[in-house]
Symmetry: C2
Subunit: 117 residues, 2 copies
DNA sequence: ATTAGCAGGCACAAAAATGTGCGTGCTTGC
DNA sequence: GCAAGCACGCACATTTTTGTGCCTGCTAAT
């Protein structure tokens, strides 16, 4: 979701990967998707608590981005206090097998690193 | 491979995903890995030509990063003109199933987008 | 009566990623 | 003799991403 530069327009054909990274790249997007996958449906503050270190603005922006790209569903209940539920769209669920692999890979990597100390 | 901020140190436990994205995130890393996977072994300029839009410095930096993190093998032949071959490490090959999924997903997404015009 | 939780928004600052334009020393093909 | 290809390196500029600190209006619980 970065704005396109001229150099990017030259890409087109080969860079499916560049395009994919444009949507799921960034520090918090995969972590958010992962949490939503694990918990099915989550509210804003629930998500925030579960992603330690994330700030309001990053969570808001990331969610908005994911929503605009059709990866996340946002359902707002008009009541007070407000209630908003987030969940993954079907399109996003197609990505889950990839996340499983990445998670396993990252996990192994982190545990090996810990042993170095 | 970004420098750690204080807020990141709070993470530790949950953010396997943040860690993974730190290594394979960025605009060019997955595209490079993907090309190397498809072609097994590639030379610097060969890679550059195949990744349309990438600049020297980004290719160099990305390769160095991937090398430091043990995802890419760099073999330098001492001869003139110079010859350097890049290939994936076994650890990186473990990620390939994830890339397959992401590639397929991104491809579908791009082709649908084209139809909108 | 005060507080906490809900779901964020805003202006601004800092940091990180990415790009631009040029140069290296050497050799082989035209 | 000139150009092109090899594999990059460097200073700098721009763009993008991420973070900080504070605020909103409402309600239910202490």
């Amino acid at each position: 979701m970065t704005k396109k530069r001229e150099s990017d327009l030259i890409n087109k054909n080969n860079c499916v990967m560049v395009h994919a990274m444009d949507i799921i790249g960034g520090k918090w997007r995969l972590p958010i998707i992962w949490k939503l996958y694990k918990n099915k449906t989550m509210r804003y503050n629930e998500l925030k608590r579960s992603l330690s270190g994330i700030t309001n603005i990053m969570l808001t922006r990331s969610l908005r981005n994911l929503e605009e790209n059709g990866l996340v569903h946002r359902v707002e209940f008009s009541q007070n206090p407000p209630k908003v539920e987030y969940s993954l769209t079907d399109n996003c669920i197609k990505l889950v097998p990839a996340l499983e692999v990445i998670y396993g890979w990252g996990h192994e990597r982190l545990s090996k690193k810990d042993k170095d100390f």
